[in-house]
Symmetry: C2
Subunit: 358 residues, 2 copies
């Protein structure tokens, strides 16, 4: 397709904070936004020109959505394959392409893709039965982490197995779902690369950043990562190989374990804008949300230079109750997502502090 | 009133690009936005949670709007006094207060306010009749500019009178409306000060900027103005005096003529975010739109430091057809307003170029 002209409609699957920030970025470029979500009163709907609230398997609603938009993208990777197929069947251009969703939705497919591209991963084995878990533990050793193959995020659907005695509990936590056992990586740091590939194959990436998770949820991102530029270049090369292999269009994030010897172990990828890229809103001329819109609209990618150093902290659950303190702190750039209820573990907003480039 | 908590609703009168950029700034702080406009399919409506389309004298619609919002503000200064009164009558808090609108809507009241605060203006005289125009021309001399007292913007409702022979044509151009004759200021430059006053009386201002108008419409803003810091300090002091005198809450802009001797002549004020402040979107941590939302919500004002130098160019009418060129230029930050039709003289967007601080 040609580049979408301003005034065209960007369709976004999902109504959460990522959709909200994508929608305001699209508006800045002169686009209208239509949201498709199964959630009423969603954060993204309140900044969109139009919202369709329906189930992701509602073929008629998907067809109506497809007819109204110039391109469809998504704020989450767990879009059902049938949803993407229905949209394409109704004539929509879907970016990134659904093949990407499939690779990102299944931890075994994802790691297999990484390995096929020569990208290091933790050792892993599929687990479907309790006996299979024992075989996998024998092969991989302990400590290890058992995860559901599909639909995991923010640490949900995961169980750490430190000793054989924990195998029963871990297996039970999978609730019968197909799982993957991953060898535990004694990493020095967690880092991530947020990059973008344009419809023309152009590639651009932000600086490698460093992440701290608490309870499986991202707590803090520091930009840039403290490690040397050569490691960032390797991470960028990996992101480019993945994006090229998938004929990817849009922003993609890859999370890595950085090992003591400087090697990078790819942990997982997100075929979308990513929490570890939120710092770009305040520290880059073209943030990851505008970058994603540019890519899916067929525009040239924007500049990814880091104008200043940044530290982004998520406001999780009741953290957001301190909004007035952050609002009064001139060194804090406050972003709130418009969620009605501050449930524990729920990402309510984030705060970015800026520093002169180190 | 106490500071509005995130989740509250900001009501905005007007659906144009200023409302659109205010709405996305409010969303970033976790607010919902309701727009009241007499325009269907307006740029701001497409990024707002709710829009009421009605005439500005529709008492029932205004009352419904007032009931749904925590505070009302405006993207334009020509809100009818009766509209503001109706909103207040329906229980709304209106910021800035309607007394400010009155002062900004009438060029004589505006200049009288400036003079009462010891702020220099061009010489001026009211003009209601053809004979009155002759008397005013005698008093003020030529060249002079005849303007309607009310409802002028972007050079509309103005006539330059260079010689007595142009008096007839100038008077006719006023179409019978009350007018003001202003002495012509042979200025060195046009500069403007965009400032903010919080609900607590706190004051903050951005750097003084320099403006170039073409055909009465702002073409380009350069930040900072080339003139010395002392002039900026004087402009800031003037803005503070005006804001304090009006018990102003929100962003206010004052346009000045900078004379060869370094003196500042106040030309007009805008009780709202201002086109000459658009550069702050890309060059300041807290842009003028967030600043205005912070002020009217009763929050602390944000930082106004200039992170880099900037040049903002308006895209007027067909200028916006070159969007693809701007989109592909990594040094250009493109902002488009979502207007459906590129009429001559219509502000369709703007482009900001950033430079390291000089």
């Amino acid at each position: 397709m040609n580049a979408l002209a301003p005034g065209a409609v960007i369709g976004i699957l999902g109504g959460g904070q990522l959709g909200r920030m994508l929608a305001t970025a699209a508006a800045r470029l002169g686009f209208d936004v239509h949201i498709f979500t199964d959630e009423t009163d969603s954060p993204a709907a309140r900044v969109a020109a139009r919202t369709i609230v329906a189930d992701y398997d509602d073929a008629a609603a998907l067809a109506a959505f497809a007819r109204g938009v110039g391109v469809v993208t998504s704020e989450f990777e767990n879009v059902p394959a049938a949803t993407a197929e229905a949209l394409i069947g109704a004539g929509a251009i879907v970016r990134p392409n659904p093949r990407v969703l499939a690779a990102a939705q299944d931890r075994i497919d994802e790691k297999t893709l990484f390995q096929s591209l020569g990208i290091d991963t933790a050792p892993f084995a599929p687990v479907e039965t309790r006996a299979g878990l024992d075989r996998a533990l024998d092969a991989i050793g302990m400590p290890a982490i058992l995860k559901t193959r599909r639909l995991g995020y923010d640490g949900k659907g995961q169980a750490r197995i430190m000793t054989p005695a924990e195998a029963d509990g871990g297996f039970a936590a999978m609730a019968g779902q197909p799982a993957i056992l991953e060898g535990f990586c004694a990493f020095e740091r967690e880092v991530s690369m947020v990059a973008a590939r344009g419809a023309d194959g152009a590639f651009a990436c932000y600086d490698l950043v460093e992440n701290v998770h608490e309870g499986g949820i991202l707590r803090r991102t520091t930009a840039p990562a403290r490690c040397a530029g050569e490691i960032g270049a390797r991470a960028a090369d990996i992101a480019r190989r993945v994006a090229d292999a998938l004929d990817y269009v849009g922003v993609i994030a890859i999370e890595f374990f950085l090992m003591a010897d400087g090697s990078l172990i790819a942990n997982e990828m997100a075929p979308r804008v990513h929490n570890s890229g939120h710092w770009t809103l305040d520290a880059c001329a073209c943030d990851q949300f505008e970058q994603h819109i540019r890519a899916v609209a067929g525009w040239a990618l924007g500049p990814t230079d880091r104008l200043c150093d940044a530290e982004m902290t998520n406001l999780i659950g009741d953290d957001a109750l301190a909004w007035e303190r952050y609002a009064a702190d001139p060194s804090a750039r406050l972003h709130l997502y418009g969620k009605r209820e501050a449930r524990p573990g729920r990402k309510m907003g984030h705060v970015t502090r800026l520093f002169p480039r180190g």
